[in-house]
Amino acid sequence: MNQTGLITPEELRPICGRACRILDELDRILLGHHEVHRLLLIGILSRGHILLEGLPGVGKTALVKALGSLLSLEFKRIQFTPDLLPSDILGCNILQMMPDGERKMVFQPGAIFSNIVLADEINRASPKTQSAMLEAMQEHAVTLLGETRPLPEPFFVLASQNPIELEGTYPIPEAQLDRFLFKIAVGNVGADVLTEIISNRRRGEPPAPTFHVSAAELAELFDAMERIYLSEPVANYMARLVAAGHPGSPEALPEIERFVSFGASPRAAIALAESARAAALLAGRPSVGFEDVKSVAPAVLNHRLILNYQARLEKVTSFDLIGLLLEKVDPAGLGLPAGVALEPGGAK
């Protein structure tokens, strides 16, 4: 039994090492996207679904494939198109003749029955098809013809969407967006990274993973996540951070009042807590710190702040507002009056 209440350094060290190794391997496979890889790994450790947004060809699919391969998880890809039907994702019952000659309706699982599902260009499918993902993402189960079938664990949806070519697309509704733990922007890489890709990778093929994490090792990672301690001051900071993003709340900043229509839901606070735990684990700490919260807050909140037309007009992004929240909301919640502040290291 753990007497201290915190996971011991000895217990945490191999787990943290394993997580860091996964991260290093991802960095090796896909060049120039360390922060994306870190957030992706945090999302996986938090058991959350992730929406990757980026232009075609930046390595979204390759990243997901590499992750599936590393974690020894079953990986399936669904290319979302306007004519894609829910049954194409979830599966359907097919009348089938049995060996004994009897005909029965047999369930044929869809592509969603997998550990990692890559929903490629998810915004190209119709809302009906998109909403078919809702139950699966939230309940980790599929109900078809009145019969609920659980999905394999762990279950992750890693969706991607193209921010351009919006013609013929269906923007993901807020209800579905909220179910994604992170929305990560996958950007372009620099010239030096491109040079390395061109020089060292034939036809751009990423290298195969050098190691794989077994299901037991992955379970250990998930178990360690449960033992990362979240103290009350840090939890309070997360709560105040989310509340400050709600226009009309007492903690709301003037900029939030001006540019935000709807703030983040309580699910966002839960997601923040989970992802902060994963960030602490990845950093090798037994407890969540303020900096862990700050490191994951943009990815958690950026797709949950619904901006108004004024924000679009003034080209204010959700990342700008999150940066403002992180700057203005005092982590410790000292509640000092305006004009009074503590400057670190100012006095002996």
């Binding site: 007497q3 301690y229 001051p233 982590p331 509640g335």
Partner: protein, 482 residues
């Protein structure tokens, strides 16, 4: 040396930091509250010094101290309300030290081996508004100091400064009191004068002394004039009563068979006529029944006595008026019998008017019977006690002389010489009355200091300016040019 537990050190540091924050918050709150408090106190001190004079010098300083105390109280309450708790400060130290939540977690669970990983930052510096925070309180304090230290003359130069006219107003008050007590003025006039006096005291302004004294003089003149008029009325009443009593005494002194029959009736008519103007006299007549009945010796005697008694009351009124300087002399004819200080040299002996005959001619024209009766009678010796003058006879004695003197063997008369010493053309400037010095005994007795009174006869002489001397007199009194 054993290293102190990091959590303990963090708690100690948090306590020290909390004290520093409390001091900073108190100072900041005090500066903000005092900025307003000094200005408010300064304004209050200014108002008090301008409008609430006189007041003790401690009051403005008390206001300043009260402002100080209120500012401190507000700052204390504000600081206590805004002061963060220890847990919050530990959370801040956790974040500043980049302990990754270990410090905050260690407050809730045992940190175990992670204790060593707790990193404490240096004691933070507390940043406040800086010099800007001092501007308002410094300005307020300067304003308050100014209101406290500036001389009173600069603050309230328009302060009312009155002349000390208390003695004059007190004198006027006394005069008005006498006039009121003796019912010598109408109530409305008295009220008007009292109001004028009050107004004068209110308008008394040392910066306009001329106006103040002019007002005072005007009021004093008005009061004196009222006193003079009242005194004149009293004097007239007194003269009337005395003359009437003389006439009554004269009639009463004659034997009944010598009194002309119409004299009593004329006397009665005169009394009734005068009673219409003199309520006092009317009352006497009513009391004696003389107004309706024919005057008999007894009634006349009672009336004369009553008139003499009433004269005493009028003399007291006159004495009060003289005492208050409302009247120069209480004598009927000032200058004839003044004692110098306004009193009568011999109150009972003043000759009231030219004589009774003159008075009767003036007040009862056509009453020849009465005039003849009074002329016939001899005033009785003595008269009322204390009213006579030794050596000069009774004050109310008729100025007549019958008999011879050593220098002039016949009745004294003015001899008219044509163009010279014509009495008809002359002017009487002085009239003398004295006992005839038959054998020089009067002169010798007077020289020895012995006065003789009683029934002595009186000699009258006039000093006249005759026409031939008038030019010389005018030249004498004509102002000489330099």
């Amino acid at each position: 040396m054993k290293q102190l537990d990091p959590v303990r050190r963090a708690e100690s540091m948090a306590h020290r930091l909390r004290r520093r924050i409390a001091a900073a918050l108190f100072l900041r709150g005090f500066l903000r509250a005092s900025g307003a408090a000094w200005f408010a106190a300064g304004a209050l001190v200014l108002a008090v010094r301008i409008f609430a004079r006189p007041l003790p010098d401690a009051v403005p300083w008390g206001i300043a101290v009260a402002a100080l105390v209120v500012s401190a109280a507000i700052a204390g309450c504000s600081a206590a309300k805004q002061l963060p708790g220890i847990r919050r400060l530990l959370a801040w130290l956790d974040g500043a030290g980049a302990s990754g939540g270990l410090l905050t977690a260690s407050l809730e669970v045992a940190p175990g081996a992670w204790r060593e990983r707790i990193v404490l930052p240096a004691m933070p510096k507390i940043r406040t508004g800086g010099a800007r925070e001092w501007v308002a309180p410094a300005a307020g304090a300067a304003f308050l100091a100014g209101t406290l230290l500036i001389p009173q003359s600069r603050i309230a130069p328009q302060e009312h400064c009155a002349l000390d006219i208390s003695a004059e107003t007190a004198e006027l008050e006394q005069k008005l009191e006498v006039l009121e007590e003796e019912s010598l003025m109408r109530e409305e006039e008295l009220d008007g004068m009292h109001a004028a006096l009050d107004e004068l005291e209110l308008d008394n302004d040392a910066r306009d002394t001329a106006r103040t004294y002019e007002l005072l003089d005007a009021l004093a003149r008005k009061v004196d004039l009222a006193g003079e008029e009242a005194g004149e009325r009293v004097r007239n009443e007194l003269e009337t009563l005395r003359m009437l009593s003389l006439a009554l005494d004269s009639l009463n002194a004659l034997p009944l068979d010598q009194v002309p029959p119409e004299a009593a009736a004329q006397m009665s008519a005169l009394l009734e006529e005068l009673a219409q103007e003199n309520p006092e006299l009317a009352k006497m007549l009513a009391d004696s029944g003389a107004a309706t009945a024919k005057l008999d010796p007894g009634t006349m005697k009672r009336l004369a006595e009553a008139m003499r008694d009433s004269s005493g009351g009028l003399e007291r009124k006159l004495a009060k008026l003289v005492e208050q300087k409302l009247l120069k002399s209480r004598c009927a004819r000032p200058g004839q019998c003044d004692g110098g200080d306004g009193s009568c040299a011999s109150p009972g002996s003043c000759p009231y008017g030219e004589d009774l005959a003159t008075w009767l001619e003036k007040n009862a024209p056509g009453a020849d019977g009465l005039l003849a009766a009074c002329a016939m009678c001899e005033p009785r010796p003595g008269g009322r006690s204390g009213a006579g003058e030794p050596g000069r006879g009774r004050a109310d004695a008729m100025l007549r002389y019958i008999g011879n003197t050593p220098e002039f063997s016949g009745k004294e008369t003015d001899l008219a010489v044509a163009g010279v010493n014509d009495p008809a053309q002359s002017m009487v400037v002085q009239r003398f009355a004295g006992a005839p010095d038959v054998d020089g005994s009067e002169r010798r007795a007077a020289a020895a200091g012995h006065l003789r009174g009683g029934d002595a006869e009186v000699e009258q002489r006039d000093a006249r300016i005759y026409p031939e001397h008038r030019a010389a007199v005018e030249r004498y009194f004509k102002p000489k040019e330099k």
